[in-house]
Subunit: 142 residues, 3 copies
């Protein structure tokens, strides 16, 4: 593995996300507004609906599903880096329904916040930048 | 979104929780004893039993279930803030059974620690305070 | 609970893991190469296969299963401490298949990285050391 340069921990946020808004877009807007270009992110709460992706490693594209019902957001975990000159959130989620069954995937736009509590840890240093990778067709860090 | 004031990272703990005790109460006691009023928390391990909640967004109350068997605690993630002048843990958990099936929900008292390793990151600044929200009937940050 | 001494946060890393390599071994190698002896770890991405453990609390040993198909790695969460004079990764994972069903367990060697993005937070202080516990037969912090 190439030698990695460590980051410094920057600003740390703990806050509630706006009810009724889109989850991943709200997080990206927060990072854009506060100029958080690199970092990690964690959320717990509940959502009114969710849109999940599954990356098909053979077809090299995301499949997508929409679940239109209230779910406990057990965990959103992800990172913040730069794509097209803007903070981009790469996040995965796990969710539970009223039977305590768990579903999850790559978080896509189309996920409606009910009550969500977010933690953002900024990392200070050279921000990671995402560019399309020829092999996987994903936007990866160089 | 209202402008958020960042926190400073305070004390950081990595430790084992006491076998046989209640998971959420042990975490709250730890925070109380060490005067951690705001922060984030993460645990991995295994439990002898678990009590889960599901917040019914229409009925505005938690449903509850008890699972009385040994489970791998895949992840507890949550935050620490103040409710009724005491550190309160808001945590969600995912767990796996012997078939590697995953269940999860909002962590409630009635969860017995077998072996659990906890990480606590204190956040220094104005602690979040939970008060009953009229719309959701949940105890939310103001 | 015994009084816990806090750690200082040390170096922080955000990086991509090497495609095709073993997940837990790559993380341990990274920590060894960078002399990260204590800390926490979080990964999101996707894997080509996974090997999971379930700790049987009655039999006091791990059961094991191998899932030989591409899965979304919803979350790896864990910690870094010392075992046999080397950084040891204790990590749990949750994963989703193409139907967004979630499985998970204790991460074992035999898990192939496809694309994985890792976060490592070093903790500075007395590193935790794992030694075999007589009661559980697990390697636990003293």
């Amino acid at each position: 593995m190439a030698e990695e340069k460590p980051y410094l921990t920057g600003r740390t946020y703990l806050f509630r996300l706006p009810k009724g808004k889109d989850l991943v877009e709200s997080l990206a807007d927060f990072c854009h507004d506060n100029q958080v270009k690199c970092g990690i992110i964690s959320v717990v709460g509940c959502v009114a609906s969710v849109t999940l992706g599954y990356y098909d490693q053979a077809k090299k594209r995301y499949e997508k599903t929409v679940i239109n019902k209230p779910l406990e957001l057990l965990h959103l975990t992800g990172n913040i880096s730069i794509q097209d000159n803007r903070p981009m959130i790469h996040a995965h989620v796990t969710l539970a329904d009223e039977e305590y069954n768990v579903t999850g995937g790559h978080l896509l736009p189309g996920t409606k916040i009910h009550v969500c509590e977010a933690y953002v840890q900024e990392l200070v240093g050279e921000p990671k930048v995402r560019r399309t990778d020829k092999v996987t067709k994903l936007a990866l860090w160089g």
